[in-house]
């Protein structure tokens, strides 16, 4: 799309685009191409020689039980985070929407965790669940559960899921509340006159009408859990214990940056790239549809 009235100038538009394009090419496109190329190479331990091996890195990757475990972890983690944060946010949004008095004040009190960095959110919960000094670990001990995320993989996963969901509730809440407020009151009133109670109205009218918002948030939350949660993992469990919270993004970092396995790390990058592209396509196709509504 372009304006009907345009300016004519031979070099000015290029000059205006130059900074954006330069940064994009140098720091985005070029490294991405490098990753694509390196994913087809194998380098020896001293970095002295490299060999072109086609898709060997990928074959190795997908036959590596550790990588497949990281894949499973990522899927479990993402869907737990998406489900938990969306369910809680929807509940809170529906309740806040009912209370005409106070909805604005409630909104202010609920949205600020969006501003907390994932890594900081991780540290907050890490402290509260700390087996020695944490208040929640203390409470859990009181009811007979011996919490220890240093030893128990399930506990560690629960910890990062809680931290990641806590931060994301505010975002989902905002979008659900906006979605709820956009539903025409007349529909709900008509159903009420026909004798449908609040729960029936929610499941048969409100929830189906919210489905575009729900689907949109599902994609956004999965993207968030896949890519923006590196800080939570790195600042708390560091992928442990025994790889129980090792997610894909964390593995790219630890294999490439700490383990210095260039070929494998690049192949993992390419797999992640494919996932981002797929998710972006889903998101954009969907948004295209929403505009038609």
């Amino acid at each position: 799309m372009i304006k009907r009235v345009t300016f004519r100038n031979l070099w000015l538009p290029y000059l205006l685009l130059l900074p954006q394009l330069a940064v994009t090419l140098i720091f985005f496109i070029w490294p991405a191409l490098q990753a694509l190329y390196q994913s087809l190479l194998v380098e020896d331990a001293f970095g002295l020689s490299t060999e072109f091996v086609w898709f060997e890195n990928f074959e190795e990757l997908f036959s590596d039980p550790l990588y497949l475990e990281a894949f499973t972890n990522t899927v479990v983690f993402s869907f737990s985070v998406a489900f938990a944060s969306m369910a809680i946010a929807l509940l809170l949004a529906v309740m806040a929407d009912r209370t005409i008095k106070g909805a604005t004040a409630y909104k202010t009190l609920l949205i600020w965790p969006y501003a907390v960095a994932p890594a900081v959110a991780g540290v907050l919960w890490f402290f509260m669940f700390n087996p020695v000094v944490g208040i929640l670990a203390y409470v859990l001990r009181g009811v007979g559960y011996d919490w220890n995320h240093y030893l128990d993989g399930g506990d560690a996963m629960t910890l990062v899921v809680i931290a990641a969901s806590w931060k994301q509730i505010s975002y989902n809440f905002l979008f659900f509340l906006a979605g709820l407020q956009a539903i025409p009151r007349s529909l709900i009133e008509a159903a009420a006159i026909d004798g449908a109670g609040p729960f029936k109205r929610f499941w048969t009218i409100i929830f189906p009408l919210l489905s575009p918002t729900t689907f949109f948030l599902l994609v956004v939350n999965v993207v968030y859990a896949f890519f923006d949660t590196f800080g939570i993992i790195h600042a708390t469990t560091e992928g442990g214990p025994a790889g129980a919270t090792q997610i894909l993004v964390y593995k790219v970092y630890s294999d490439g940056f700490v383990g210095l396995d260039l070929g494998s790390s690049a192949a993992q990058s390419v797999v992640l790239m494919a996932i981002v592209i797929a998710l972006t396509v889903v998101q954009f196709r969907y948004i295209e549809r929403r505009v038609e509504y």
Partner: protein, 282 residues
């Protein structure tokens, strides 16, 4: 309210208040822990009410840092975070404004190609190209510098789209009138388009400031020199140290300080924040 069901209204309020309590609880615990001497935290009786060490603890982290964790003063880290967040926010807005202006108001060869190149950045978050990007920044000698911290993150497809979308809604007559009056493109941009974009710029600034402040992976990669640590990533080093040393009160004070600036921005500029959030997701 469709019908009057008092008991349901009471339940609604209770549920929301419970939600708020759960949301706020981690911050309260953190704040309380940051105001106690370490002995109160380590002896197993977890305090629920602020102690009397508020000034001592915060003065320690701000001024001296945690020497045992090889730390530098948190004041320096906060300054680094501020520089990084402001550079990223201002930089992204500036280069996206002019890029969107070129794409919407000029007709030139390869216009759509430029547009698609910018679009592709959406699909390439730092996380998927960690090593090669690090290599580029290292080769350019940008490690341990403010420019290395912020420049590689400055390209923005989202901001460019947002401004493009907004420019398309600006009435054609304005550009026509400007041309008839003999204004060139730059004068039109400066005197008409920029003032019109003010609200969008402000809304985007709020979002991007938070984005920049909360960066974690990138500062972790490009800073090895402690004097360039940002506060969000600096906390991680302290947490690791707190595993063996009794430092939790200081770590929690730092956590409060790392959270405060972006949270204040969100609360004070709530309207702009919500607008920015909704617009960038369109």
């Amino acid at each position: 309210m469709v019908e009057n069901r008092p008991y349901l209204t009471v339940i609604s309020h209770l549920v929301v208040i419970l939600g708020i309590v759960i949301t706020v609880m981690p911050i309260w615990i953190t704040f309380v822990a940051s105001t106690h001497p370490i002995e109160h935290i380590m002896d197993g009786t977890i305090p629920m009410w602020p102690g009397d060490q508020f000034f001592e603890n915060y003065a320690t982290v701000l001024g001296a840092g945690i020497a045992d964790a090889g730390g530098i003063p948190v004041g320096t880290m906060l300054f680094n975070s501020l520089v990084m967040a402001l550079t990223i926010a201002v930089g992204k807005i500036a280069i996206s404004l002019i890029a969107a202006f070129a794409i919407v108001y000029f007709d030139f060869p390869f216009r759509m190609a430029c547009f698609w190149i910018i679009f592709i950045t959406l699909m390439l978050p730092v996380e998927v190209r960690i090593l090669p990007t690090f290599a580029v920044v290292a080769n350019l000698g940008m490690l341990n510098s403010y420019i290395g911290l912020s420049l590689p993150l400055i390209a923005s497809a989202t901001a460019t789209f947002l401004f493009r979308q907004f420019f398309l809604t600006v009435p054609e007559e304005l550009a026509e009138a400007a041309r008839i009056d003999g204004a060139g493109p730059l004068k039109f941009f400066k005197d008409i388009l920029l003032p019109l974009s003010r609200t969008n710029v402000a809304a985007l600034f709020v979002i991007l400031f938070i984005y920049g402040w909360n960066q974690y992976l990138w500062p972790l990669l490009v800073t090895t020199d402690e004097s360039f640590y940002t506060v969000v990533m600096g906390i991680q080093r302290m947490t690791q140290a707190a595993e063996s040393l009794p430092l939790w009160h200081l770590v929690m004070a730092t956590t409060m300080l790392a959270m405060l600036p972006p949270v204040i921005v969100v609360v004070v500029m709530q309207k702009l924040f919500v607008k920015g959030l909704v617009e960038t997701e369109k």
